[in-house]
Amino acid sequence: MTATASPVDPGRRRGGAGRSRAGLAFVAAYTLLLVAFGAVPTCYAIWFAFTDAGGGFTGFANFVTTARDFRFADSVGHVALYLVCWLLSLVVFVVGLALMLHRLSSGPVSRTLRFLYYIPGALAGAASVLVWLFMLDPTVSPVSALLGALGFDTFGQVIAPGNLPVLFTAIAFWTGAGGWIVVMYGALDNIPQDVMEAARIDGAGAWQTAWHVQIPMLRKWIVYMVILAFAGGAQLFVEPQLLSLASVGVAGRDYSLNQLTYDFAFQLNNVNGAAAVSMELLVVSLSAAGLFVARSGFFDAD
């Protein structure tokens, strides 16, 4: 800790003054990082989004220019479609699988399955995309028979632009679902035994118990998962970027909004436009998160 405490109000020299100073010293380094890598880039983005290359104020011109870019509407559509696929599959399958695992009794089978589901989580980032490039290439894929049965004989056919939302969903689900299944399973474990018992005595079957008792009690967790997955999914970058390197020209470099940001900043030399798109993504993601905070009360600070 190199930082020193900032001056404490001298009038407040009661018992807590020393501790107050210590508290400030403890948070000083973190505050520095928070300012440098949270606040300043955010302000920088805002400033760039509303100015031109010369630094003059331009109002919403950058937003208008980027929105009029021929690739913008496409990439918004791509990301939106992907988000729908991704969030739906996450909610349906994660909740479904967690419920099934939970009914399976808490024996070694359930534990083993949870671990197996969890393994791909270690392959986050570029690794998962690379694995799936192989899975989707009929010449080497272990499921080439399945791909053939679906009418795909070449890699180019598999990664046709229309398939991409589903493929990106598969990749994201493959790496991310296991962790959420573990979380949901834990939440199901926390439902009091007598509530479940009461449902059983009332004659509720597996479906009814799940629908009327367990899922409502998971609601908070499901919302939490959806919001985080939404914020993450809107940031789609590495999947389409790597695919564009490997797609024999099928997928472009401007599939997602973040790719577009990158292109504006580094290919077109339009950092102001890039900042405008970044701002839009940030506002959308933060609003989603804010909705969650307001609705669920998860992060009530005392």
Binding site: R19, S20, A22, G23, L24, A25, A29, Y30, L33, L34, F37, G38, V40, P41, T42, F48, F93, G96, L97, M100, R103, L104, F115, L116, Y117, P120, A122, A126, A127, L130, V131, L133, F134, M135, V140, P142, S144, W174, V182, V183, A187, Q235, V238, L242, L245, A246, V248, N258, A265, F266, A274, A275, S278, L281, L282, S285, A289, G290, F298, F299
Partner: protein, 293 residues
Amino acid sequence: MPIETLARRAPQRLLTGAVLAAFAVFFVLPVLWLVLAATKTDQQLVHDQPLSFGSWQALADNWHALTAFQDGAILQWLGNSAVYAAISLVITLCVSVPAGYALAMTEFRGRRALLVATLVVMLMPSATLVVPLFLELNAASLIGTMWSIILPYAFYPFGVYLTYIYFSTAVPKDLLAAARMDGCSEFGVFRHLALPLATPVVALVGFFSFVANWTNYFLPYVMLPESDQLPVQVGVGNLLSSVPQFNPAAGDLAVERPQLALATLVAITPVLVVFLFAQRFLVSGMLAGATKE
């Protein structure tokens, strides 16, 4: 349970079992395939059974070919990843554990503001800030240095939040008050009492931050221009564009697919190792990250 009920439930159980097994295959098959692919030649990869073992010889050959690529670029990338992840991990821990402790256990001016800022930034997707971060670090002439990666990594609000939750729920304030009465300084209380109690959460923060940093792609992709500075994630992405089957323009320095599979395996090994060690912390950690009971 009456026999009829059991009989009625049998098909349901069978269906459940089938679905669970199918998903197990979905999650495990690609990993298994990846491991086996690294032991094959490109010929074997295409013509042999997908889930067959190639040979140790082919594995060794693939390794030699992989390390020969650009004079051992893969080793350089692994080394870079290790340096970036390790230094930022140390900074993250030194910064976020005391901060979480102070937020939970002491009163100071601006505490609430800091807490709220932490929550907001935690919810803020970091990928949107990559381009503004580039501009900021460019203004500070840090682009192309390892600090353009390490410092943004070191800022880890989720770690602060986790430790904050941990200290405010798992460590009784009375204990700290007693230590203070015994004449322990504020730093002493932290060092000798709070820190030892916080070992599980320190491990957890370390795990999450390590995995997040090791697997990050966008930030180093933007910040680092030179091939010999790349972390392994971005490096492996570069390898991909040298595989002729994926990129026909790859040219002479071609990389074969089994070598790419091996590179992917090598790239995830550190995460896998940490993953296996940290497994038992994870569930409680993910739960702790979301509630504060």
